[in-house]
Amino acid sequence: MLIRFFFCGFLLLGCASNQSKLGHDLELSSYKKIKWSEINLSNAKDKIGTPDISEAVGNNQNEIVWIYLGGTPLSSRLTLLFNKVDGHILNATWFFRSYDKKADTKYLAKKYQFDLTQPRENPQFFGVRKDYYTNPSKSMEMTVVKKDNFVESISWIVGR
């Protein structure tokens, strides 16, 4: 388990001095030319950078999530999910903040070809209500919180 960022009790007050600066430097535009299908556990550090948090997850701990922290409030900015066995990437997700100029449903729909006419709703009844929009090839997904139309994230779903 690699934890570059010292994940102690609380992020903002407890660990501010230990956090990687990398997360703060991340920009969505940096990933325009990334071919996510070519990213794996071996080359991700060179192509993306060292994550703040690396942790085994999944039912059998058979996946590894890399979390790059950034933005205000400090939280996940970019997350990568890998298959622990073969090292292939399964998902890459960019998390927006309310001040991000590009966090606009129509702008992102045009840029990534998300079909705004056919949202998928939350798979379960509980929790915050969200809409999920995909592109024609289903390789990308945009998550929008219904209550305030906040674009929460866009994901590259490589494992689908």
């Binding site: 009790g9 903002l12 948090i53 939280s75 998902n91 998390f95 309310s98």
Partner: protein
């Protein structure tokens, strides 16, 4: 069992009104109550001496309060209490979270359950919240103000 529909009128989003009452005891259900967006269900067990009904209702209304938070406030809470989102290969949302500082064990399930527990303890057992999760205590105090308390509670 009592089914409650929560009101969402401006300035009154923690009040509620009863829409139907019927008896149902779920003996295998561990919780005296449950909720989803707009609905609270109180099982018969909630009305036994084993439980504090006001506290159960406070907890379930806190779930509604969490769902009513703006995305910005919800993110602020999650950041303050160390809930870091990521997504699975199917796009399902998961969280990487702190490993300690929970007032109740089921708070480890999700930021929403953690929030409901913390608001419940803020209102009914604040000393424990201050001791175990001081950042959550401060966040609730800053967001809801000094008047956020159970009226009549000594």
């Amino acid at each position: 069992m009592i089914l409650i529909k929560t009101k969402k009128e401006k300035g009154a989003d923690l009040s509620a009104f009863f829409v139907s009452t019927f008896h149902l005891t779920l003996k295998d259900h561990p919780n005296p109550g449950t909720s989803a967006d707009g609905i609270i269900v109180l099982y018969d067990e909630a009305f036994t001496q084993k439980y504090n009904l006001a506290r159960i209702l406070g907890h379930e209304l806190a779930h509604q309060k969490y769902l009513d938070l703006s995305s910005e406030d919800r993110m602020s809470y999650q950041s303050t209490t160390n809930w870091l989102p990521f997504k699975t290969d199917t796009g399902t949302e998961k969280y990487y979270s702190r490993t300690d500082g929970f007032v109740a064990d089921d708070g480890r399930e999700s930021p929403e359950e953690d929030f409901a527990n913390n608001v419940e303890f803020y209102l009914f057992e604040r000393g424990r919240l201050k001791r175990l999760t001081p950042h959550a205590d401060r966040w609730i105090a800053e967001h809801y103000g000094k008047d956020f308390k159970i009226k009549g509670k000594k």
